[in-house]
């Protein structure tokens, strides 16, 4: 219900809000909500990726290069970018499913940095450190069509990820997280399900990355480097890793708060750090956990 209400409110927002800057922030929020939710799809089986932004970059650069140099329509190259991301993810997913917990985080971190270095080897096409310019846009003119496009993309991706998590595959992934020996004993193949999760998660993140490339029309490494991956991880952890709503709330909170306190300027990182520390000490389950705490308090009073 709450989800539906939020989507409806967001859909009617353009009637009231005119500022292009607000749309820019909202679009970025949608992009990162989708990306962070896809990160959680991996995390439910206990694999916390620290290089997810690199997968986003594969989608973004594939789509951008195809549209810019080959001249295909962005509407065609975006799904191709997502497919390329999924292909890479499935290829690396087979070996990566062998490494677990902190080692998976580290391997994905190195993979993320490695992808960026490979990217800069092809600097002639990807525009070296300055970024790649002249990427064909999806829509000409105002930001409103982009707003609806990314809203729709987010809703569709979230529904897909929600279905993925609640269907049998998601349950199997959770079983693998809790005990992979027990899961293996009842016939759940760890490699198969991990590769599947990797493929779905990276398809989504590649798609949204490709969309971002055609929205921004300029992409550079700095959008997809280590700190971008870590930011996504932080959004997820702050929101709460245990719940599907966690990444959504976490991203929304951490995107909105710096915008509300924009007059702080260079002191904003302190605010950011303060929020992180507050959440860790007060809400061990993330912001989502706060709602549960309030609910249990209310129930107790009754």
């Amino acid at each position: 219900m709450i989800y539906l209400a939020t989507v409806v409110i967001l859909a009617f927002l353009p009637i009231f809000v005119k500022s292009p800057y607000t749309y820019h922030i909202l679009i970025l929020t949608f992009v990162y909500i989708t990306a962070t939710s896809s990160l959680r799809t991996l995390a439910i089986s206990g694999q916390v990726s620290m290089g997810h932004a690199a997968f986003m970059s594969i989608g973004a650069y594939t789509s951008a290069v195809l549209a810019r140099y080959v001249g295909w329509s962005p509407w065609l190259t975006m799904p191709l970018g997502a497919l390329a991301t999924m292909l890479v993810a499935v290829l690396v997913g087979f070996p990566f499913s062998r490494v677990r917990t902190i080692y998976f985080s580290m391997v994905s971190l190195f993979f993320g940095i490695g992808i960026l270095s490979i990217n800069s080897i092809f600097g002639k096409y990807t525009g070296h450190i300055n970024g790649m310019i002249g990427i064909p846009p999806l829509f000409i003119g105002s930001r409103i069509p982009y707003y609806f496009f990314f809203l729709a993309l987010m809703v569709v991706c979230l529904i897909v990820l929600w279905r993925f998590e609640t269907c049998r595959i998601g349950v199997c992934l959770k079983a693998i997280d809790q005990s992979r020996e027990v899961a293996a004993s009842i016939g759940i193949s760890e490699t198969k399900f991990r590769v599947l999760a990797m493929g779905v998660s990276c398809f989504v993140v590649g798609l949204v990355g490709a969309g971002y490339a055609h929205y921004n029309m300029v992409i550079s490494y700095s959008s997809f480097n280590l700190s971008a991956s870590i930011n996504m991880l932080v959004y997820m952890l702050i929101g709460g890793i245990v719940s599907f709503a966690g990444p959504i709330i976490g991203t929304a909170v951490l995107f909105m708060i710096p915008e509300i306190f924009r007059q702080l300027k260079e002191y904003t990182p302190f605010l950011f750090a303060g929020i992180l520390i507050l959440v860790v000490f007060v809400m061990p389950q993330g912001v989502v956990g706060l709602f549960d705490q309030i609910r249990s308090l209310v129930n107790k009073k009754e």
Binding site: V107, G123, V280
Partner: protein, 286 residues
């Protein structure tokens, strides 16, 4: 001939700096189970502390190096007590705390010292000639300091009681606690030691290269590479891991571009982890 000597000195220099930075990271990771992403920022702040003492207060560079290490050790004690102690073994909470620390430290330095690149004065200047081969004294001395600190660290861990306690806690913290080892005390010492070593590495690297507020990110990635390559829980393995990464980083750039160097280094580690998921000398973590 000259190029070989240059490569060897550079390899020793880089390796020893990587190991200095990585050993603190490895100590904290294996003893407290805390993945301290802020270690790079601590390294950076150590370099800036040394800069501030040596340039602004006009102290002797050696004294300021020593003082910077001391300040960062105190800071490490503070961090262990108030930031990481509530979250032993809690991977996610400690990651968030350390990321918050990165924001705080980087922004503080940006606001106080400024975003411009700074350079520390050379601790030793001049060139050094042996049989027609000229070597920068500074690099040689930095390498010597790095190697001797590493020997001291190894000796401390292998021979002293506290060092043995550290190894015990790294192997099995519950078992160590049952033997009467005070885990929190050991962890505090490890954290202080790690921060002091990072500060020394930061100051020395700041003199050989430059100081900037993002220097920590690079060394953090290198430290993680070294620790993962050698395996979590193995403190001695860090030496060998650091030597491998440092040698790769000083030899490969002569033949290829930095991007390809990085790709090769990362590929080697990823492949190694896929063959041996717990690293060269590590144990499986759950």
């Amino acid at each position: 001939m000259e190029i070989i000597v240059e490569i060897i000195i550079n390899a020793i220099l880089l390796s020893s700096m990587y190991v200095l930075a990585a050993s603190g990271f490895a100590l904290v990771l294996s003893i407290m189970g805390v993945l301290n992403f802020a270690h790079g920022a601590i390294y950076m702040v150590g370099g800036y502390a040394c800069y501030q003492l040596a340039i602004e207060y006009g102290l002797n560079p050696w004294l300021s190096l020593f003082l910077a290490a001391g300040i960062m050790a105190l800071f490490g004690l503070f961090l262990e007590r108030f930031c990481f102690r509530p979250f032993y073994g809690d991977f996610f909470s400690s990651v968030i705390i350390s990321i918050a620390l990165i924001f705080i430290l980087q922004t503080s330095i940006n606001l106080t010292v400024g975003v411009h690149v700074r350079s520390l004065p050379a601790f030793v200047s001049g060139m050094f000639k042996v049989g027609g081969v000229s070597v920068s004294m500074e690099r040689l001395f930095t390498a010597v300091i790095g190697v001797s600190l590493l020997f001291a660290l190894t000796l401390f861990i292998r021979k002293s009681k506290t060092g043995q306690q550290m190894l015990a806690v790294a192997q099995n913290s519950e078992g160590a606690a049952l033997q009467g080892i005070r885990i929190h005390r050991v962890a505090a010492i490890a954290m202080a030691l790690g921060c002091a070593l990072a500060a020394v590495a930061g100051s020395l690297m700041g003199a050989v290269f430059d100081l900037n507020t993002f220097m920590g990110d690079l060394i953090l990635v290198k430290a993680i590479q070294v620790v993962i390559l050698s395996g979590i829980g193995s403190i001695g393995g860090v030496l060998i891991g650091g030597l491998i990464i440092g040698t790769l980083d000083s030899v490969l750039p002569l033949y290829t571009t930095p991007a390809i160097t990085q790709t090769i280094g990362l590929t080697i580690i990823i492949v190694l982890l896929l063959i041996r998921p717990q690293g060269l000398f590590g144990r499986e973590m759950d």
